[in-house]
C-alpha cells in the first residue's frame, strides 16, 4: 500500500495501515531533522548513529500523537504540523538526554540553566549538543505565538515536573525509609505530570484552539504514554538507579494494564468520536504492546543495551 491510499489528513484504522503511517512519518521526520543535525551536531550522525536513530523514533512517535491531537481538534494534519511535531520530539529527546545521560550533577546543572532560559531567555551554548537543542527550541518557539498563556504554562509545568523528578531521584533512598506508599504516590504523580504537560504542550503547539473539554483526556493520554514508556525502560532505569513508578511497583504488567484500561476508558468517554480519537487509541494500543515486548526482551540484556525500538 502506498501513501496515496491514506485519506488526506486522516488515519487508516487497521494495524497494518498504522504501520504505513508510521513508516511514512519516520521518513519525513528524518528529512526534516537531518539537515539540522548535520549543521549543528554532526557527531550525532557518526556510525553507528544509534542516538540519531533513537531521536527519529521519538520524533516519529510525537508526530503520530500530534497528528491524533490535530484531528481531535477537527483540523487537517499538514506539513507545518509535521515539522513542528518533529522539532518538538527532537527537543524532548535532547532535553531528556541532559537529564538522564550525563549523571546527577549534570542533570542538576541543566535544571538550573534551563530555568534561566525560561525565566530570562538566556542559555549559554557550551557544545554542539546544546547548540542543536537551542536551535531546535528557537525554531519551535518561532513556529507559534509562544507567549500564548497556555503554552507558557505547559512549558513551565513540564520544567517544574522535570525539576521535581530530578530532586525525587536524589531523595528516593530517604523516602524509601519513610514510606513506600509516599514514594510510589510521588513517582506516579511525577510520571503523570511529566508527560501530561508534554502532550498538552505538543497538542497546543499544533492547535492553539483545542477545546477545553478535550484537555483532560489528552493529559491522560500523555500520562499513559509515560507509564508505558517507563515500563519499556524498566531494566535500563533500574541499572542506572533511576526510580520510576513502573520499576518500583511489585506487579508492573498488571499495574500498567489497569492504568491502560482506565486511561482508554476515559479517552473514549471524554473525546467525541473522530479519526483523531481512533488514531490516539490505536497508537496507545500499539505502544502498550510494543513496550510490553521491549520489557521482556530487555530483561535478559542487563539494562545496558542501546537498542533502537520503534
Amino acid at each position: 500500500m502506498n501513501r496515496r491510499t491514506i485519506p488526506p489528513g486522516g488515519v487508516p484504522a487497521a494495524p497494518d495501515r498504522i504501520d504505513v503511517l508510521i513508516r511514512s512519518h519516520r521518513r519525513r521526520v528524518d528529512r526534516s531533522l537531518k539537515p539540522l543535525v548535520l549543521a549543528h551536531y554532526p557527531g550525532m550522525m557518526a556510525p553507528p548513529g544509534l542516538e540519531y536513530a533513537k531521536m527519529i523514533e521519538l520524533s516519529t512517535k510525537m508526530v503520530m500523537v500530534g497528528r491524533a491531537c490535530v484531528l481531535i481538534g477537527g483540523q487537517i494534519f499538514n506539513r507545518r504540523h509535521l515539522r513542528t511535531a518533529a522539532l518538538y520530539g527532537a527537543c524532548c529527546f535532547l532535553g531528556d538526554s541532559f537529564l538522564d545521560d550525563f549523571g546527577e550533577d549534570a542533570a542538576h546543572e541543566y535544571i538550573q540553566r534551563y530555568e534561566l532560559l525560561l525565566t530570562k531567555g538566556w542559555f549559554e551554548l557550551r557544545n554542539d549538543r546544546e547548540r542543536l537543542f537551542y536551535v531546535i527550541l528557537a525554531r519551535l518557539f518561532a513556529e507559534r505565538d509562544i507567549l500564548n498563556p497556555l503554552l507558557r504554562q505547559a512549558i513551565f509545568g513540564l520544567f517544574l515536573t522535570q525539576k521535581r523528578d530530578v530532586e525525587l531521584r536524589a531523595t528516593t533512598a530517604a523516602l524509601e525509609g519513610a514510606s513506600r506508599r509516599t514514594l510510589l504516590r510521588r513517582l506516579r504523580e511525577c510520571a503523570r505530570d511529566r508527560s501530561g504537560h508534554a502532550i498538552t504542550l505538543l497538542a497546543h503547539l499544533l492547535n492553539p484552539h483545542l477545546p477545553l473539554p478535550c484537555a483532560a483526556a489528552i493529559y491522560t493520554a500523555g500520562s499513559l504514554i509515560m507509564h508505558i514508556d517507563d515500563h519499556g525502560d524498566c531494566h535500563s532505569d533500574r541499572y542506572y538507579r533511576r526510580a520510576t513508578f513502573m520499576n518500583q511497583v511489585r506487579d508492573p504488567v498488571r499495574t500498567l494494564g489497569g492504568i491502560y484500561r482506565r486511561g482508554v476508558e476515559q479517552i473514549r468517554r471524554e473525546l467525541p468520536p473522530s479519526l483523531g480519537r481512533d488514531l490516539m487509541l490505536a497508537f496507545l494500543h500499539r505502544y502498550h504492546q510494543t513496550r510490553l515486548r521491549k520489557h521482556r526482551l530487555e530483561r535478559g540484556r542487563g539494562g545496558t543495551s542501546w537498542r533502537v525500538y520503534e
Binding site: 549543521a39 494534519f77 507545518r80 530570562k120 518561532a142 505547559a154 504523580e189 484537555a215
Partner: protein
C-alpha cells in the same frame, strides 16, 4: 546555516560574552505571576474548571492546574459543582495586551516575532525602562517644532523599515523560500488552520 538560527545563536553568544546586560530578560516563559490573577483554574487530572482558589481542588492536582482566562465553548459541563464558576464580565477579563511593540522593537528585531511584545513589557516596567521613559518625556518636552518634525520623520522611517522587513518575509514565505524559522505570514496559518494549498496536506 539558516539566518534565523544564526541570529538566535548570536543572541546567546552575547550572553556568553557578557556583552549585554544579562539582568534584562530576553524572554520570560514563566507564567506563574500572571496565572495567579486568572479567574479560573482547570484541573487537568480531575477535568474540572474551578474558580481560582477553590477549596475543592485536590492537593494532588496542584501541579496539573492551568490558569484559564476564557474557557471557551463547552465549559459548563466541566464546572466544579462546589465553587460553580461563572464567566465574569468582559471588562474584568484580563487578556494579554499587545501594545508594547515599540518598546520591544528597541531591544530585539524581527527574529523572535511575538517575543517583542513581552520583551517590551518587561523593559518598560524595569528600572531602566522607567528611567528611559522619563528621560524621553523630558526630552520631547524640550524639543522645538523643527526638532519634533525631524523626530517624527525618523520614527516614520523606522516604521517603514519594519513594514518593509515584514513584506520581504511574507514574499519569501509565499514563494517557499523562507527559512522556515519565522512566524507564518498569514493569520489563518498562525492559528493552525488548514492551508489554502491542498498540496500541503500530508
Amino acid at each position: 546555516m539558516e539566518l534565523g538560527d544564526l541570529a538566535a545563536i548570536g543572541l546567546q553568544e552575547l550572553f556568553r560574552l557578557r556583552a549585554i546586560d544579562i539582568e534584562q530578560p530576553l524572554l520570560r516563559i514563566d507564567y506563574r505571576a500572571e496565572a495567579a490573577e486568572a479567574p479560573f483554574h482547570f484541573d487537568m487530572v480531575g477535568g474540572k474548571l474551578h474558580r481560582t482558589g477553590c477549596r475543592a481542588i485536590p492537593r494532588t492536582s496542584l501541579p496539573a492546574l492551568y490558569a484559564v482566562w476564557e474557557p471557551g465553548d463547552g465549559w459548563p459541563t466541566l464546572a466544579c459543582p462546589q465553587c460553580r464558576p461563572v464567566l465574569p464580565e468582559a471588562a474584568d477579563m484580563k487578556g494579554d495586551s499587545s501594545f508594547d511593540l515599540l518598546y520591544g522593537l528597541l531591544s530585539v528585531v524581527d527574529q523572535f516575532g511575538s517575543v517583542l511584545t513581552e520583551r517590551g513589557r518587561e523593559y518598560r516596567s524595569s528600572t531602566r525602562g522607567r528611567q528611559l521613559s522619563k528621560q524621553l518625556t523630558q526630552l520631547l518636552g524640550a524639543l522645538d517644532q523643527p526638532q519634533r518634525e525631524v523626530l517624527s520623520a525618523a520614527l516614520n522611517s523606522l516604521d517603514g523599515m519594519v513594514k518593509a522587513i515584514r513584506q520581504v518575509n511574507e514574499t519569501l514565505e509565499k514563494n517557499g523560500n523562507g527559512n522556515g524559522n519565522g512566524r507564518p505570514s498569514s493569520p489563518p496559518a498562525t492559528n493552525g488552520q488548514p492551508p489554502a494549498d491542498p498540496s500541503q496536506k500530508v
